[in-house]
C-alpha cells in the first residue's frame, strides 16, 4: 500500500513544483524551489527503485502504474542525471542572473518546464499501459521544446522548430505502432483496459498475431528511434543539443534519448516471443545501432562546434546501446551498464562545455583552445569526459564497450564486430584530434578566468570518480540489479548471472 502511494507521489512532486515555480516572484527562489523539488523526487525515486530492485515489481492504480527492475534501473539513472543537472542549472543560471542575461520570466519558464519534463519522463517509466507511456514521450517532446529557446535567437528557434516537428512526426509513427500492437491482440478476448497493459501483453506474447507485431515493431522502432536520435532519423539532434542552454543539453543527451530507447526495449521481449524467438527484432536493432555508430563517426571528424561534437557522440553511444540490446545475452547487460556510463559522462561533458562557453562566449573549438589553463576545473572535466567518451581505459565506458564486443564475438557476428570497431576507431582518432588542442592549444582569446566554487568542483569530480570506480570494480548488488533489469528484456533466453561474472574485472 505504501509503495503504491509513492508511485503516485513520483509524478505529483515534480508536477506541483513546476506549478509552484509559476507563482514565485524572484528568479533565485524559483531556481532554489526547482532544485528542492528535484531533490525530493530523487530521494523518493531512489527509495522506490531500490525497493523494486531488491524485492521485485510494485504496481498501483489497478496495474496502470508498474515498476519492475528495468524501469526501476532506468528511473534511478534518470534521477541521478536530473539531480546533477539541476545542481548545475543552479550554477549556470546563477551566473547568467549575475550578468543579467536571464529575466524573471525566462527563469520561471525554465523551472516550470524543467519540472514538467521530469514529471513526463517519470510517467514514461512508471506506466504499465503502453498508450500512456506514449503520451509521456510526446509530452516530453512538447515540454522540452521551449527549453531549447529559453534565450530566443534565430538559431535556437530554428533548432526548436526542427525538434518539435521531426520528433512529433516520429512519435506519431510510434503511436501507429502502439495501435498495431493493440490490433495484434484481436481474438484473445482481452477487455479494453487490459489491451495495452505491458504485463498482459508480456504474458500473452506467444499468442499475438506475428505479422501485425512485426509491422508494429517497425513503426515503433522508427518512431521512438527518431526521439532517441538513431541515425538516419537523427537530423534534429545536433541542432537541438547545440542551441539549448547547457543544463538542457545535458538532460537531452543524458537521459531524454534513453527514455525513448527504453520504450523500444519494453517492446523487445514481446516482439521476440511473438515472432517465435527468431531474433528478427534483434537484427533490426543491430542494423540501426551500426548505422548510428558509423554515421556519427563520419560527422565527428568535421565538427567545429564543441556542443555539436558532443551531440554526434550521443548518436554514436545511443547506437552502441541499441547494438548491445540487439546482440542479446551479455550485450543486453552491457547495454544497460553503458546507459549509466554514457549518461554520466555526457552530462559532465555538457556541463563543462556550457561553463567554458559562458567564459569564452563561444562554443567554437578553435577559440576554446587552451581551455585547461584558463579554467582548470572545467578544463579537466571536459578533457576527462572526452577521453571517457571515446572509450579510453580504465573508464567505465571502456568496460561496457568491451562487454558488447565480447557479446558480438560470442554470437559469432564478425561483420558486426568489425564495423563496430571501425566506427569506434574513427571516433577515437577524430575526437582525440579535437580534444588535445582544446586543452593544451595556444589561448587566442583574452578571457577572465572564473574561479570554480565547491559545488562546481564537486560536479566535475563526482561523475569522473564514479566512472573510474565503475570501470575498475563493479559492486555485487549493482551487478545483480543490472542483471535483473537485463532479464526483463531478454526474458526469452535468460543468461545466468554466473556466466556474466567472468567478464567483470
Amino acid at each position: 500500500m505504501k509503495h503504491e502511494a509513492l508511485l503516485w507521489l513520483l509524478i505529483l512532486v515534480p508536477a506541483v513544483t513546476g506549478a509552484l515555480a509559476l507563482l514565485l516572484r524572484s528568479a533565485r527562489t524559483i531556481l532554489g524551489t526547482m532544485c528542492a523539488g528535484v531533490g525530493i523526487s530523487v530521494a523518493l525515486g531512489w527509495y522506490v527503485a531500490g525497493k523494486v530492485l531488491v524485492s521485485g515489481p510494485v504496481s498501483a492504480g489497478a496495474e496502470w502504474l508498474y515498476l519492475d527492475a528495468l524501469s526501476a534501473y532506468n528511473l534511478g539513472v534518470m534521477l541521478l542525471i536530473y539531480g546533477l543537472s539541476s545542481a548545475y542549472a543552479w550554477v549556470y543560471f546563477g551566473t547568467e542572473l549575475r550578468e543579467e542575461h536571464l529575466t524573471l520570466k525566462q527563469a520561471r519558464l525554465f523551472a516550470s518546464l524543467w519540472c514538467g519534463a521530469l514529471a513526463a519522463m517519470t510517467l514514461v517509466f512508471i506506466s504499465n499501459n503502453l498508450g500512456i507511456m506514449w503520451v509521456g514521450i510526446e509530452a516530453t517532446t512538447l515540454l522540452t521544446g521551449f527549453l531549447i529557446c529559453v534565450h530566443v535567437t534565430g538559431e535556437s528557434l530554428e533548432a526548436m522548430w526542427k525538434y518539435i516537428l521531426i520528433c512529433s512526426v516520429g512519435v506519431a509513427f510510434a503511436f501507429m505502432g502502439t495501435l498495431l500492437v493493440g490490433a495484434s491482440t484481436h481474438g484473445l478476448g482481452l477487455r479494453a483496459p487490459e489491451v495495452l497493459l505491458w504485463t498482459t501483453l508480456h504474458a500473452h506474447a506467444a499468442s499475438l498475431n506475428p505479422a501485425c507485431l512485426k509491422a508494429a515493431f517497425i513503426f515503433l522502432l522508427v518512431g521512438y528511434g527518431t526521439k532517441a536520435g538513431l541515425a538516419p532519423m537523427h537530423n534534429w539532434l545536433p541542432d537541438a543539443h547545440s542551441q539549448a542552454p547547457a543544463p538542457v543539453s545535458a538532460i537531452f543527451s543524458g537521459f531524454m534519448l534513453n527514455t525513448a530507447l527504453y520504450c523500444v526495449m519494453r517492446y523487445v521481449p514481446i516482439v521476440e516471443a511473438g515472432t517465435g524467438n527468431t531474433g528478427w527484432g534483434l537484427r533490426l536493432l543491430i542494423g540501426f545501432g551500426l548505422i548510428s555508430i558509423l554515421v556519427a563517426a563520419a560527422f565527428i571528424l568535421f565538427q567545429h562546434d564543441l556542443k555539436r561534437l558532443l551531440a554526434y557522440h550521443s548518436v554514436e553511444h545511443i547506437g552502441i546501446i541499441t547494438l548491445g540490446v540487439g546482440l542479446g545475452g551479455l550485450g543486453t547487460f552491457a547495454a544497460l551498464f553503458h546507459t549509466l556510463n554514457h549518461s554520466l559522462c555526457k552530462t559532465l561533458a555538457f556541463f563543462a562545455a556550457g561553463r567554458l562557453g559562458q567564459m569564452f562566449g563561444t562554443h567554437n573549438m578553435t577559440k576554446l583552445a587552451g581551455a585547461m589553463r584558463v579554467a582548470p576545473v572545467w578544463g579537466v572535466g571536459l578533457f576527462g569526459s572526452l577521453l571517457a567518451l571515446i572509450g579510453l581505459a580504465p573508464f567505465a565506458l571502456f568496460m561496457s564497450e568491451l562487454q558488447i564486443l565480447k557479446a558480438a564475438m560470442d554470437s559469432g557476428a564478425i561483420l558486426v564486430l568489425v564495423l563496430f570497431l571501425f566506427g569506434a576507431g574513427v571516433v577515437f582518432v577524430g575526437a582525440l584530434g579535437h580534444a588535445i588542442p582544446l586543452v593544451w592549444g595556444k589561448t587566442t582569446a583574452t578571457v577572465q578566468p572564473a574561479r570554480a566554487g565547491v559545488l562546481e568542483t564537486l560536479l566535475v569530480v563526482l561523475p569522473l570518480v564514479l566512472l573510474l570506480v565503475l570501470g575498475l570494480w563493479m559492486p555485487g548488488p549493482f551487478q545483480t540489479a543490472l542483471n535483473a533489469a537485463a532479464d526483463v528484456i531478454r526474458h526469452v533466453n535468460p543468461v545466468s548471472a554466473v556466466s556474466l561474472g567472468g567478464v567483470t574485472p
Binding site: 503520451v135 522548430w161 516537428l165 512526426v169 493493440g182 481474438g187 541542432d239
Partner: protein, 211 residues
C-alpha cells in the same frame, strides 16, 4: 454512412494538396476533423456508449473549433500573405496524391490487420491521410502548412485507431487528444516567435544550422 465519410476524408486530402490559400487549407482540415469526430459515433450508432459520445464531442470541439482558431490566430499575428508557397507545384501535388491514394489501397489490402466489422475503406483512408500529411510537411514552405500536414497525419492515425482498436481505454484516448492539443498550441507559439524573429514563417529560410 461510414463509407461516405471515409470517401469525403480522402477527397479533403486531395483538396488540401491542391489548395493555394492558407485560410482555405485550415478550414478544410477543420472539416476533416469534424467528419472524423463523427466516425466513431456512426460506427457504433446502435450501441452508443457514453465513452464514444464523449470522445466524439472532444474530438469535434478540438479539431473543428480550437485548432482552426489557434492556427488562424497564428496566421493573423504573423500578418503574412496567405499564399501557400509550395516547393512542389499544385498539379504535381495532385498527381503525387493520386499515386499515394493508389499505394494506400494496395497497401491497405495487404496490411495484416483484421478489419472485422469495419469498413474496407478504413485502412486505405487512414494510410492516405498519413501519406498526404507527410507530403504536406515536406513539400510546403509555410510553417503553418507544416502544422496542417502534421494534423492530417494525426487524423490518419486517428482513423486507423477508431477502426482497428475499438477497445482502446478511454484514458489513453484522452491523453492522446491532450497531446495533440498541446502540440498545436506549442507549434502556434513557435510560428509566432519565428515570425517575429525572422519577419517570415517560411521554413526554407531556417537553414543556419548545418553539418
Amino acid at each position: 454512412m461510414t463509407d461516405l465519410i471515409l470517401v469525403l476524408v480522402m477527397l479533403t486530402n486531395l483538396k488540401l494538396l491542391a489548395s493555394s490559400e492558407l485560410g482555405a487549407s485550415i478550414r478544410v482540415v477543420a472539416v476533416q476533423g469534424v467528419m472524423l469526430g463523427l466516425l466513431p459515433v456512426l460506427a457504433h450508432v446502435h450501441d452508443l456508449s457514453l465513452h464514444f459520445a464523449a470522445l466524439a464531442v472532444g474530438t469535434i470541439a478540438l479539431k473543428g473549433a480550437v485548432f482552426p482558431w489557434l492556427l488562424f490566430r497564428a496566421l493573423r499575428e504573423a500578418e503574412v500573405t496567405r499564399e501557400v508557397e509550395p516547393y512542389v507545384g499544385y498539379i504535381t501535388s495532385i498527381l503525387v496524391g493520386l499515386a499515394a491514394l493508389a499505394a494506400s489501397f494496395w497497401l491497405g489490402g495487404r496490411l495484416p490487420v483484421s478489419t472485422v466489422g469495419a469498413s474496407s475503406l478504413l485502412t486505405p483512408s487512414a494510410l492516405f491521410s498519413i501519406l498526404a500529411g507527410l507530403f504536406l510537411i515536406v513539400a510546403r514552405k509555410r510553417a503553418v502548412n507544416q502544422v496542417l500536414g502534421f494534423l492530417v497525419m494525426e487524423n490518419g492515425i486517428y482513423t486507423f485507431g477508431v477502426g482497428i482498436v475499438a477497445e482502446m481505454p478511454f484514458l489513453v484516448e484522452l491523453g492522446v487528444l491532450l497531446d495533440a492539443f498541446v502540440a498545436v498550441f506549442v507549434m502556434g507559439i513557435a510560428v509566432y516567435h519565428i515570425n517575429r524573429e525572422f519577419d517570415h514563417i517560411e521554413t526554407n529560410r531556417l537553414d543556419r544550422l548545418k553539418g
